[in-house]
């Protein structure tokens, strides 16, 4: 595969860019693969990539019902951070964040990781205590964060109203190396690299059944025919329940709509990512100049990728109060994604009742930021059949044992 570079672009420009080759192949499925991964979103593609890179397993098919990266990977607000409280979360999100640092070079595809810094505002005494606690934990989890005062908040983000009448900003948890990346590019970059390793990405191919024999998966039925496999990895976010249903087991998960919106593009006015959990809203400015805004999830099961407008209203209300200048900006577009949420709002990277079938899901609102770490951990689980340290705590058995990973305790909702 030809490498991407400024030189390559210049070379192609001379012949009006007629010479570019496909970023990834679109093959017909083979009869059999060592590993079949269901779901060509960020997590599925990352799982495939690290199966190849870390374990040399390349006889892999990634099967996608729609188009690669067409689900939540392409619908989120692109925030990357690892300032989580609990050890297992901090470990996997920090692994992901550190992999984002070098992703453009590792994939030879510019995913525009921009460590512009993420701040979570503390607007109540209990938030201060929660974030100070997180800062202490992070200090010994290898996650660089600090608790900063209101003046520093104002310096880092001048458009914030730090002394609003209702919730003056009392400080913030600041992660300087958190930031954003170009979400589509993450999927496309992984896809290109996987295709380059000889893996088959099969789009427009829906799994219709999971074929089993003596408690093990032998393959999947798809709209493009039956495909055999030694191991099956299910990485389908909001649709986990459906796939688990086919495989014959239940999950501690529910699928709900998570909404986001963007404003019209304006000249740069905000260099950092700001999350305000007391009032439920978060905002950053994309390279195009749009203010990218996210809020909470709807309160009911929903597969429509449409959300309820009052959630948009609550989020915008909160942000107009926190950033008064956006009042005269306009909402350009709103949309929804379907996220799967578990009983403790933390993900599962887990074995299943079927010996050679593995599941990764339940990322809720934390999906995008975790993609490389999730793929790394999932690849290890699939390759070895047993979870490595990153995945160990995320097994599904924890719900039976009462061994939860609850992030809501400090950071409020985890976006």
């Amino acid at each position: 595969m030809k490498r991407y570079s400024a030189f390559a672009v210049a070379r192609e420009a001379v012949r009006y860019h007629q010479g570019w080759e496909r970023a990834w192949a679109s093959p017909q499925p083979k009869k059999r693969y060592d590993v079949v991964i269901v779901g060509a979103g960020g997590h599925g593609l990352a799982t495939a990539f690290y199966l190849g890179k870390n374990f040399g397993i390349t006889n892999v098919a990634i099967i996608e019902k729609g188009w690669l990266g067409g689900g939540n990977t392409g619908r989120n607000t692109t925030i990357i951070r690892s300032n989580y409280l609990q050890d297992p979360s901090a470990a996997i999100y920090e692994k992901a964040r550190s992999l984002y640092e070098t992703m453009s070079q590792d994939l030879n595809y510019n995913v525009m990781f921009s460590p512009r810094g993420v701040m979570m505002l503390a607007q109540t005494q209990s938030e201060i205590r929660g974030y100070e606690r997180t800062a202490h934990a992070n200090a010994y989890q290898g996650v660089k964060t600090e608790f900063i005062g209101p003046q520093r908040v104002k310096e880092l983000c001048p458009i914030i109203n730090i002394d609003g009448p209702r919730y003056p900003v009392l400080g913030a948890l600041w992660q300087a190396r958190g930031g954003t990346a170009r979400h589509d590019a993450v999927a496309w970059g992984y896809a290109r690299a996987c295709s380059d390793m000889g893996m088959d990405i099969i789009q427009k191919c829906e799994v219709t059944g999971v074929r089993q024999n003596a408690g093990k998966v032998v393959g999947v039925d798809t709209t493009k025919g039956a495909i055999d496999c030694d191991k099956l990895a299910i990485v389908v976010a909001g649709h986990s329940g459906e796939l688990a249903g086919m495989a014959g087991f239940r999950l501690p998960m529910e699928s709900v709509a998570l909404q986001a919106l963007v404003s019209e593009p304006i000249k740069p006015c905000m260099d950092v990512v700001v999350m305000a959990n007391t009032v439920h809203g978060y905002m950053s400015q994309s390279d195009k100049g749009e203010m990218v805004i996210g809020g909470g999830t709807d309160g009911f099961n929903n597969y429509t990728q449409r959300g309820s407008f009052h959630h948009i209203e609550e989020t915008v209300r909160a942000l107009v109060e926190t950033f008064p200048m956006i009042s005269r900006l306009k909402m350009l577009r709103q949309w929804g994604g379907i996220v799967d949420v578990t009983g403790d709002r933390s993900p599962v990277i887990t074995k299943t009742p079927l010996g050679n079938c593995f599941m990764n899901g339940g990322w809720g609102t934390g999906g995008f930021k975790s993609i490389p770490g999730s793929g790394w951990a999932m690849a290890e689980l699939v390759a070895k059949g047993e979870p490595g340290p990153l995945a160990a705590a995320f097994g599904m058995d924890r719900f039976k044992e009462g061994r939860f990973i609850d992030e809501s305790v400090a950071a409020g909702v985890a976006h």
Binding site: G241, Y303, S308, K400
Partner: protein, 110 residues
């Protein structure tokens, strides 16, 4: 923006007057139950694509809990009914079956 008919007030309450309460007709398991049953009760969810039986509270209204049968793919509401029951009314099940012949039926996934 959902509207659900509150069976107690008789109004078409809108989402901002309601509070969703998750899957309906869960059987409570107490101290004598097995780990599996207790886990199932607290965490395992049907989360179906299609007909879903769920709990709602008319919180900005009469304050009463009620049940709804709703499609999670189209958001069609087949009906709402009393919270004081352990399973959906027969008439409602028949109505759904009529509208959705493919539907496996209440509890079929369980």
């Amino acid at each position: 923006m959902l509207t659900l008919d509150c069976p107690y007030c008789g109004v078409a309450a809108e989402e901002t007057e309601l509070h969703g309460g998750g899957e309906a007709h869960l059987k409570r398991f107490g101290p004598a139950s097995s780990d599996e049953d207790f886990e199932g009760y607290l965490f395992m969810r049907e989360n179906p694509k299609g007909v879903n039986f769920e709990r709602w509270r008319h919180v900005n209204g009469c304050g009463k809990w009620f049940h709804a049968a709703r499609c999670t793919m189209t958001l069609e509401v087949f009906g709402t009914y009393s919270a004081q029951t352990t399973e959906p009314p027969k008439a409602l099940l028949a109505k759904i079956k009529k509208k959705r012949p493919q539907w496996p039926g209440y509890g079929a996934e369980k």
